[in-house]
Symmetry: C2
Subunit: 250 residues, 2 copies
């Protein structure tokens, strides 16, 4: 692949441009984009125009750059999580309707839980436009439910690299949380984003006894039926796992 | 930009690889991907590995390729429609709860309505994992509501290029549908995807009297309160427009 004077490839530069938008920001000025992508303005401009020709970016008259609708469309139509979300959504809607709680679905990506779907309870202010959030494994019930059901090798690798810069959580505590979650069949943690809530999550298992996803709810601390939610979640998670198995045989 | 022997640029090839997945397909074998992207297998392999290094693609051990979680995450965190969807979702939830109907939100992209959000009615089988669907303007109530509220220039351009290969709809009919939709303040059409349904949609207007989106519901043909849904939709659409104005001032 062709490299620029600075030695980076065109692919590297395309990736840096697409990844230049800070979380939740959908518009950048071209000059700011160039700076964030660490590219000379002229190179950034040329690359943006090329990507805009393909609908991967959108270059406005006043030099504003957005991700392109065609890129958004392609990525969502062919999402890596499409089969999982299709299998899970009807069960998530059941949980939302029966328990009237915020329901979420996460996968393990690196050492984090990546939330790929969310339904908010009726009357809640949660807004699911913001999907694709991440939480470190050790501070989210979804992360714990996922990690507690990985192979020993993956768990050992995770614990081996674990460090908590804030210094609040030791690896001993994490190991214990994982052991408890594995033994109980669910994980629960006080809310990190909102301290007045609990998160509770169960693994969605594949045929080889590994968690491919975690199904969770976020409930007010005052919610007394916490344990009573678990069977409903576990039932839904089994349904999702069975559905996923079916889809993969197609 | 560096070109290959065949004269296409690296950017072109990256775009072809990402766009190679057919709608709704999230996994391809490398060989099939190469064929669809019109690339020699070796070039495709090299490009896929480079993109996989950045998490934009995922290359499995058995030669399966998926879009990468990082690309999915970036595109959804910084979606071009993020502000619109954040403004619209609470109002869409209101419609879903009050009217108990499938609710959708579309934008105009080319000469098509591109559906960017969907909420399904309680108990409906609709599955919103499949967002990012498209419908030609003249066969969708959302498309008509959007086009009926564009500038004269845009409408003239649309009608100038209009053709219906199936030959069912003439430009005279489309012009009339647009005039009716503009005059009524909403568009309605018998269902195309499901002939036993009606689609009804109203425009979400910006401050310059142009439609930036269409808010719509899909209801059974037997639904007698069709006209009664319009004021609720229009009220929600005004709320979304006002909220969008606020967000853009931030």
């Amino acid at each position: 692949m062709a490299n620029s004077a600075s030695g980076d490839s065109v692919v590297d530069r395309v990736v840096r441009v697409v990844a230049a938008f800070p979380e939740g920001v959908s518009v950048l000025q071209l000059s700011e984009l160039a700076e964030r992508a660490e590219l000379p303005l002229s190179s950034a401009h040329r690359l943006v125009r090329q990507l805009a020709d393909h609908g991967f970016l959108d270059l406005g008259a006043s030099g504003t750059v957005r991700l392109g609708m065609r890129l958004w469309e392609l990525v969502n139509r062919n999402a890596p999580t499409l089969a999982l979300r299709q299998a899970a959504l009807p069960f998530m809607e059941d949980i939302q309707q029966v328990l009237n709680q915020n329901v979420n679905l996460a996968v393990l990506d690196g050492w984090e839980a990546l939330f790929v779907e969310r339904l908010s309870r009726r009357g809640s202010v949660a807004n699911r436009a913001r999907i694709a959030g991440r939480m470190p494994v050790h501070v989210s019930s979804a992360g714990l439910a996922l990690m507690a059901n990985q192979s020993r090798e993956v768990q050992a690798e995770y614990l081996g690299q674990f460090s908590d810069p804030g210094g609040k959580t030791s690896v001993v505590v994490v190991r214990q949380l994982l052991a408890e979650s594995a033994q109980q069949g669910y994980a629960q943690l006080a809310g990190v984003v909102d301290p007045d809530t609990w998160g509770i999550a169960v693994p969605v298992m594949d045929g080889r006894s590994r968690a491919v996803a975690a199904l969770g709810v976020v409930v007010p601390l005052a919610e007394m039926r916490l344990q009573a939610l678990v069977p409903a979640l576990q039932t839904a998670a089994r349904g999702i796992g069975r559905q996923l198995g079916k889809l993969r045989q197609d």
